[in-house]
């Protein structure tokens, strides 16, 4: 296994120590493991997220002014545990409550829910909003539901900006849900990846095979096909996203009124002529950014043909799977509110503008 690591068992810790050294404005805690903006949050809602490691820069790279106040990294590809989120929440809580942004994987959801309960016992108000934007998965009745992909990056950016603007916890929870139902993603892989602990590929792919609808944890995708050109690949992902039908599902949410977790029904938007969107062409970690631009070129062509206007774009590695080669596309439909909050200044290790 060829990796720049010291100790496979301890890889997240050694990486976080380097991360802390490079970014003194971010506090790194090892046991339990979490990172947060130094000084915590004053007088506004704190925004936090977390998940398995191996998706860098997500989430730690998005901790900073105008985005996340804290992130909890789990072991590679394994969701973090409630004690991490509990300590992170206590460290950043600014008296106005905490918004947890959670990618929809059973482990992440269950651990964040337990942490929310623990924080609530401490008198801290917590909302827990799930991101499930992976259109590769068609139904929620016979699966754990759509996974959280690139829309997570936009939820973190937009909710971070909104917290600075003074949104309260209810408004922020509603805003986060709004981003989620307006965002759709799909990914593919040219190669598998290898976790340091295992040292073997997460799955096997022949020299002429690719995996469509891949997740970000090295889990296989929904379809395996022969390798395709960049344009064909971009077209498959883009069409799935643009032609995705109305998706309705129940997501578990904390209900302050009843003081319990309730299943709330949510319906995604479907893209239509005239929509304005933010586009993300995301590398899985091992694909050169130059190749991502070819994908973007085709995406731009297809959205234009569909009468959809890309008003902002990101091309690069934002939510990865270690060294996996591949790409995912995310489109988020935006209105004046979402675009204003997206354009607001942000200063994090992996996303910066306006300051």
């Amino acid at each position: 296994m060829k990796k720049l690591i010291n100790n496979a068992e301890d890889v997240v810790v050694e990486q976080l120590k380097g991360f802390g050294a490079a970014h003194p404005e971010i506090e790194v805690h090892i046991d339990p493991t979490f990172v947060n903006v130094a000084g915590g949050v004053k007088d506004r809602v704190a925004v936090m997220s977390g998940g398995g490691s191996g998706h860098e820069p997500l989430h730690g790279g998005f901790v900073g002014v105008g985005m996340l106040d804290a992130a909890c990294p789990g072991p590679v590809f394994t969701s973090p545990t409630p004690d991490q989120m509990y300590e992170a929440g206590k460290a950043i809580s600014g008296g106005k409550g905490i918004l947890q942004i959670v990618k929809n994987y059973t482990g992440d959801v269950l651990n964040f829910q337990m942490a929310a309960d623990m924080l609530r016992d401490e008198g801290i108000e917590v909302r827990n909003i799930i991101i499930d934007d992976d259109v590769a998965l068609k139904d929620s009745l016979y699966t754990a539901g759509r996974r959280g992909l690139g829309t997570t990056v936009f939820a973190e950016k937009i909710c971070g900006a909104a917290s600075l603007e003074g949104y309260d916890l209810d408004q922020l929870a509603a805003l986060c849900k709004k981003v989620n139902i307006n965002g759709k993603s799909m990914g593919m892989a040219l190669t598998p990846c290898m976790t340091p602990q295992n040292g073997t590929p997460s799955f096997e792919l022949a020299e002429d095979e690719i995996e469509i609808g891949i997740g970000i944890h090295g889990e296989p995708g929904v379809e395996r096909t022969k390798i395709k050109t960049a344009d064909e690949t971009a077209e498959i992902l883009t069409r799935h996203i643009l032609e995705d039908e109305a998706y309705t599902r129940k997501l578990s949410e904390w209900d302050p009124a009843s003081g319990d977790w309730v299943d709330v029904e949510l319906a995604d938007i479907t893209f239509a002529k005239g929509d304005e969107v933010i586009a993300l062409v995301n590398g899985m970690g091992g694909t050169p950014v130059s190749e991502l631009y070819t994908i973007y070129g085709k995406l731009a062509e297809l959205t234009e043909a569909a009468g959809i206007k890309i008003v902002r774009n990101l091309v690069g590695n934002y939510i990865t799977s270690l060294e996996m080669a591949g790409v995912s596309i995310t489109l988020v439909k935006v209105d004046e509110e979402l675009l204003r909050l997206y354009d607001a200044p942000v200063n994090t290790p992996a996303l910066r503008w306006g300051c």
Partner: protein
């Protein structure tokens, strides 16, 4: 085999389980790589190592099992952490302060364990999860009428339930993303549940 579980037996069960998870780390991870994300063995091994470190002294079975729950919750991660953590948390409650548990309490223990997992994971049998091993085991135990027979029956039922997951299409957990392609693979969580129950039987029979 003894017909009541002393605190020492329970402690021994926990230690045996830790050994079994270490031995089967690669095996469970391999099962998970086929239909999941290749970490279940790593997660369970990491979790039970923490359990051993944090195990309290004394002869309170409930306290012992609550400690197991807390360690698993804070060290396993993934889906299995909260699920096994809640399982032990629920099941430990009625046993608080008890230094020995007989058939009725153990039957209740199994039922509470199942209830805890169902509550946390909103799943049930037939969905290709740990419940496919836990539920039949709990039923088999109660039906047997004695601790010794019950544990033997539970192991047999858990093993069968584990094997029964092979032809299933997963509808919960990560494996469900694969749909049809999740067929013909044994569920890692059902496998770790079987190992946990088997370790209990072994601890009890040794005590005889």
């Amino acid at each position: 085999m003894t017909d009541a579980l002393t605190c020492d037996i329970v402690r021994n069960w926990i230690c045996k389980t830790a050994e079994v998870m270490a031995e089967n780390r690669a095996y469970l991870t391999e099962l998970d790589s086929a239909i999941g994300d290749a970490d279940h063995g790593n997660n369970m091994d990491r979790g039970y190592k923490a359990v051993i470190e944090k195990l309290p002294d004394g002869d309170d079975v409930g306290a012992l099992l609550k400690a197991v729950s807390m360690a698993l919750i804070s060290k396993v991660g993934g889906a299995a952490g909260p699920l096994y953590g809640t399982m032990f948390l629920q099941a430990s409650k009625p046993l608080m302060g008890k230094s020995e548990i007989g058939f009725d309490e153990l039957a209740q223990f199994f039922d509470d364990a199942v209830a805890g997992v169902k509550m946390r994971g909103k799943a049930d049998v037939g969905m290709k999860t740990m419940l496919d091993a836990l539920v039949p085991a709990a039923e088999a135990f109660r039906a047997a009428g004695s601790v010794s027979d019950g544990l033997e029956a539970a192991v047999v039922a858990a093993e069968k339930g584990m094997k029964d997951t092979i032809p299933m299409i997963a509808t919960k957990g990560r494996a469900s993303y694969l749909g049809e392609r999740s067929r013909d693979h044994q569920d890692p969580g059902a496998t770790s549940s079987y190992l946990i129950i088997k370790a209990l039987r072994d601890a009890a029979s040794e005590a005889a």
